[in-house]
Symmetry: C2
Subunit: 309 residues, 2 copies
């Protein structure tokens, strides 16, 4: 293989109750990336469209990941990368993770697939560390594995892929405001009441159980976050409006995507998804904030190959 | 039906990571209880063997539960109850819960089954409240539903039955010391670090996932409790010895049963269960503490009818 073009999905981290542990991949939103072998060794980012990001490989998530992989394998060729961002960084939908995961997947393909999915996740985490300050795994593992993932443990890294009920759909609204990751982290409590933690992990158990047993009602009932959402939602304009509108329109539940400002709602079936989409869109139009909104299936495949030769 | 004899199982609450949320039922340990219709209205506890417990229906878990049910239905008969305790109260194996759940089940049968399993759980919780001070649901729901249960929510009560991998076995050792529930509660922290809570709920997610997917390695890896076990284990003589011996002998994991002093180990298959049983038994013999130890399948049925006419 000399050339590869892929789709790297946007991702929702946390998924209400699963702060820093759960993620899911979106099917209708993500980056396109191409990888081409070059006689010139090393990694080059030749072009980035759709967002203003550094092409310096030491400052770009994809560059950091690709470079780390090449340094480990030392092939007799180099790789030129192009990145076409399909959505904006800072949305809370794993923008750096899509590029990092996409780079890990694409470079691995051109290298002849020496690395496992778990190893690719570890490489992709280097991209998160370089751009977000910490090597978080929930977005990158969701992008690489597809579907729902549980980051059960970091040391050693253990990623569990959770099945996705066939009618599960999502609506995602991105209010065009900036939520700095640092601000979103700063509002987090260092300590929480044990009784709240118990409620939260009971809901994590319920959500995982609902996903395995196709129990949409249980999924909806478990989409509760009593720890992070209450302190973070003030950073997101009209969060309560979106959540209550989505639920009133029949969504299973709704919450903050990652550290925001995007808000996701999970739905059962296309009809309900479209109803929730219309309701949330119409409600948000009454505010003064620009936004984009999408509907999607859950991406169960992860990164997709679009073209290769 | 005039007469009913049942088996009400002992139960393991918490199951390491799932403090106050998870429970499982034991197949080889529990109470036998009989229920007989009487022309004399009201509830009477005619006999208790195997433990010294009050027969006053307002002070006995089974009595409290049975009385509450009769008051709601007002049948034209009364019920005489006999309780044969198969194991000691204060073991951390849900002794009051077995009697409370057994009473709820037995009385419901004689009444013609007017109540759902969820309603029986709510009645049984009254027995827990009367004897333990709080209406906890993990032991009683495990006894009533069988298998693994998740208490996802209390208000409204939501019990989720989790599937049990077919080769899952357990070993349970009961060091004959007294751990007062109050002492076991007093050592609990009121607040915990958020980062520890995240690790704990990731393991809850892993354990539930492992149970659904028959992934014994994942079950074992998820049997981790970094919040309660570290502060409670000092109340249990030779806890570390039992845990390390069980794991060295191949157990998937081990932890405190409920608030102790019993310690459970989960195993894959009969051969490993027997190996763990021998190893733990021999290790504990070197201590000065009396103990009993059992092996068992997980009870997937809950309460069993032994005799009826």
């Amino acid at each position: 293989m000399k050339y590869l073009k892929i789709f790297a999905p946007a991702t929702v981290a946390n998924v209400s109750c699963g702060f820093d542990s759960l993620g899911l991949a979106i099917d209708n939103l993500g980056d396109q990336m191409s990888f081409e072998k070059s006689d010139e060794k090393g990694i080059r980012i030749k072009k980035i469209t759709g967002a203003s990001l550094p092409t310096d490989i030491n400052k770009n998530a994809a560059g950091v990941v690709a470079n780390a992989m090449l340094q480990q394998v030392s092939p007799n060729f180099g790789i030129d990368i192009e990145i076409h961002k399909g959505y904006k960084p800072g949305s809370g939908l794993g923008s750096s993770a899509a590029s990092a995961a996409g780079a890990a997947f694409g470079v691995n393909q051109l290298l002849g697939n020496p690395f496992s999915l778990l190893e690719l996740t570890q490489f992709a985490m280097l991209g998160e560390e370089a751009t977000c300050g910490s090597p978080i795994a929930d977005n990158v593992s969701a992008a690489l594995y597809g579907g729902f993932v549980l980051v059960r443990n970091y040391d050693p890294l253990d990623i569990v892929k959770i099945p996705v009920p066939i009618e599960l759909r999502l609506v995602c609204i991105h209010p065009e405001v900036t939520v700095k990751t640092k601000d979103a982290r700063d509002v987090l409590p260092k300590e929480i009441p044990l009784k709240n933690a118990v409620k939260q992990w009971a809901n994590v158990g319920g959500l995982i159980s609902g996903l395995y047993s196709n129990d949409y009602e249980l999924i909806g009932n478990s989409l509760v976050d009593i720890i992070v959402e209450p302190v973070r939602k003030h950073l997101i304009p009209h969060f309560d409006l979106v959540k209550s509108t989505a639920i009133k329109a029949g969504a299973l539940g709704a919450g903050i995507s990652g550290s925001g400002p995007s808000i996701f709602a999970l739905c059962k079936g296309d009809a309900n998804m479209n109803k929730v989409y219309d309701a949330v869109k119409n409600a948000y139009k009454t505010t003064s904030i620009n936004f984009s909104i999408i509907t999607s299936e859950v991406n169960t495949q992860g990164i997709k190959i679009l073209e290769q030769y």
